[in-house]
């Protein structure tokens, strides 16, 4: 068994009082963050860093990642804080009265936006009905579609850069680390430090980092042109190891999926599931190395039913 590499120095002013878990696994493995949300947090970082031309590198040294994710509050208010949309379509018969009524309504419910206007929508859609149809389709494909999380913790499918934003508290003002608990940052740093990062970036460029998909464009049309300005800086990401076999294993599995001949968005659920597995494996492997245990790690993956039926 490989020995655990010497950890990197801790952050100068960590934002937590008990620096224990963080010193072992990084800042941090968060138990309320599902693999999908880990992946979304990761995509926010990847797109940001890719935009700056430094994806998967740490140009200022280890653990110096600093990025600013988008908020996209117009989009989110339309999709997730707008329950009367369909009601308005049904109650009103003419297109102009529908738009008029809805503009009035949304002003009263919208949250987190200073002086909101939604006039831009009219130039993208021929009718209010088409607008409703697109909203309903976008909603039907959101992540964790049946969850009853707060509206600020609902996420549109990551069709491209314009679909990414960070989790926010219930007033839509700042990230309270409820569901974006930095595990996505750990994931990003793991891949930054894997030996396959160049190859991985190449594959991701062709598939995940492309912004010209139809649906990314459609989601973009639900946002005003200048909705990208309100961003806050996120720093203090920390992963204690310069390299580790777990990082390479993770990258290897991602690559295997990315190289398959399948529609790029169909790959994402598989990548997400593998990410969950690899984070678990990372946690167990490090624990083992710290304790000096030699037994191989075992994970129960299936409890076989005692009686088989035809489908089994």
């Amino acid at each position: 068994m490989n020995l655990l590499p010497k950890p990197l120095p801790p952050l100068p002013n960590p934002d937590t009082s008990m620096w224990v878990d963080e010193a072992i696994w990084g800042h941090r493995l968060h138990d309320e963050q599902s693999p999908w949300l880990v992946f979304l947090e990761f995509l926010n970082i990847l797109h940001h860093e890719y935009g700056k031309g430094r994806a998967f590198t740490e140009p200022d040294g280890f653990n110096t990642l600093c990025y600013s994710p988008a908020k996209r509050l117009c989009l989110r208010n339309i999709l997730f804080n707008n329950p009367k949309l369909d009601g308005i379509r049904i109650m009103h018969t003419t297109d102009s009265s529908r738009w008029g009524e809805w503009f009035e309504y949304i002003k009263t419910t919208v949250q987190g936006i200073h002086n909101p206007t939604f006039d831009y929508l009219k130039k993208h859609f021929h009718s209010f009905e088409d607008f409703c149809e697109v909203v309903s389709l976008a909603r039907s494909t959101n992540i964790e579609v049946n969850s009853n999380k707060r509206w600020t913790s609902k996420f549109v499918f990551p069709y491209g850069k314009d679909c990414l934003y960070e989790d926010l508290d219930k007033n839509a003002s700042s990230n309270d680390r409820r569901f974006f608990g930095r595990t996505g940052e750990v994931l990003y740093l793991m891949l930054c430090r894997s030996q396959l990062k160049q190859e991985l970036l190449f594959e991701l460029k062709g598939k995940v980092l492309q912004d010209n998909s139809n649906w990314n464009t459609i989601i973009k049309c639900l946002q005003p042109d200048d909705d990208d300005s309100d961003r806050s800086k996120r720093a203090n990401a920390f992963l204690p190891y310069e390299k580790h076999s777990s990082f390479d294993d993770l990258a290897k599995d991602w690559l295997a999926i990315l190289k398959l001949d399948m529609p790029s968005f169909d790959m994402l659920p598989h990548i997400v599931n593998l990410t969950g597995l690899h984070l678990l494996k990372y946690q167990l492997t490090i624990s083992q190395q710290i304790l000096g245990l030699l037994r191989p790690t075992k994970i129960v993956c299936e409890v076989v039913a005692p009686k088989k039926n035809v489908g089994a």
Binding site: K123, H124, F125, H126, D130, E133, V134, L137, A138, S140, T141, F157, Y159, S213, N214, W215, T217, I218, C221, D261, M262, P263, F265, D266, L268, P269, K307, K308, N309, V310, G311, A312
Partner: protein
Amino acid sequence: MTSSKWIAFLRQYGPIPRNDNMYDETIQRSAQKHGIAPIEFEHPAYSKVIACFDKNSTSYPVSVILTGTAGDGKTYLCRQVWKQLKGDDKDWISDNPYMSIQSYYPKVQNTHFSSDCTENYRQFTVHFIRDLSGWAPQQGAEWESDKEELLQRFCKSLFDPESNEIFLIAANDGQLIESWRRLKDTEYVIKARKVFEDLLVEDRQEQPGVRLRFFNLSRGSSAELFDRAIKSFLDHPGWQESFKYKAGENEAFGSNCPIRHNYELLQNPLVQSRLCSLLELCDSNGLHVPIRQILLLLTNAILGHPDVKDHLMVPLDIPKILTAGSVSKASLFNNIFGGNLSETRRQSITVFDYFDRFQIGYETSHRIDNILIFGDTDETLRKYFTQLVADDRFYGADKRYDAAKYQYIEGDDEDQEKSKDFLQLLISQRRGLFFKIPKDSEGELNLWELTVFKFAGEYLSSVVDVLRNGGIVKRPILSRIVKGLNRIFTGMLVNSDREIFLATSGNYSQAKISRILIDRISVDPNKGEKIILKYDSSTGHIILAIYLSSNIIEELVLNLIRYEFLSRIALEGALPTSFSKECYEDILAFKSKLITAYEKRKIMDGTAVGTTLELKILTLSEEGFPNEHFVEIVQ
């Protein structure tokens, strides 16, 4: 040979406790001891395997790997090669998993030299590893250096045309790859591992430039094995010897003897053909039944009885069974499903586990149950009852059945125990019907409703047989499959069956409901598009091929489960959940492949991207026909 000697020998093939690793050896020894010839028939791979080592037909022998599940005939084939190379019988019975022999092959193919002049021959060492699991170290242990060295030599020899060493290695499924994973990573080990994996995954026997033939015996047809096995099983002289002695009617092999009756039943072509259908259906579901299991099935079918030692009858048991009136418990129809064995024993035996998945005995229709319960008193049903149940004086309606039925019909609700008795008997009777309903009544009585796979009969006769003989599947069947696919592809109760609807939920194709139409693909030939069913003779698979153009084709293996799944979705719209998960995901994955193919076609056609985006949204008319509704988005 007396009948009891024959039966005692036959039991070795049945479901008795034994050491499975030594099966072939045990049978050989027992045969010698009893002075009885073992049940033997030519293994389907025999001539191909022998040809690899035959000095009359080759100057360039190659190594052979035999892999497969326990009971696939690996040891048997090794023994045949050993015999062919004139190996000593004594060495063979030594039980040593490794042996070697020297053999001479002509330097030039197809030449025979009158003198044994050595310069015309090349000497080879043939290494036999007849049981890799018995020879390789236990999991977790280290390789012994001489063994590791031998396998390293083997790996090298695969890529060296000059090597004078060849190997015959037999390994259970999984054991091969597992053992190779534990060898030191030399250049040749890595190359060999890759070759094995490729051959296994791609289901092939050889690779250019590699001196190896690879036989994966678990890919063989169980139905073909059955045809060979039942013939030599029934023709074994042991039976004729047993019948020679004119037994009294209540003695073993007399006219009332269930062993005799079961033997006669097994000769019945209808019983054989239904059994063969079950094995063919196992094959088409990817469930392979090895030879050993087929012989176990046949032995148990004839000798099974729940009340005797090991649940297998011997001649001495017969008078007791007749006196006790428990002949019906020896029913061949029930024994075929392991009904004579305890539940745990039954579940641990592959063939019964597979047969259990058909749920024969538990599945039924109103019509069938009405015949079984009310058939003797109902005028319209009586002829079926008489023909299928009453006329069977062994396993039909005996006194026990009539009494239990009376209790069931007339008894009060509180007497659950008594009803349970009858329900058990009913299971046995339904199993009997599965083997007794004649071919020409199959449709009328809906034979296949006695199984979980209601479309299995149609699948075999109207799809597999038709395609195998070069015919074309009837249009209504293809239409039904297309309709089933459409319902899964869209997640809506679509009734269209002339086109495939490729739809997604956005850019993500695996969503449960997919309302965004990408394109339609025509079933009838149209601009290179078409959808056909065909037979792949190399694998025995039925293939649904969807042509997006003459050179962009996507294929789906249409096994029985998928056929049943799509048919039921098309006709009923829904399925019991136990069926659907795996099939459902397979079909969605197929849609994913079709969408990739569609994108490929688009690139080849050079379709331009415009500045407006148009979505085609599917809605359903009342008749279930999809309408497209357009939504345009201006960028």
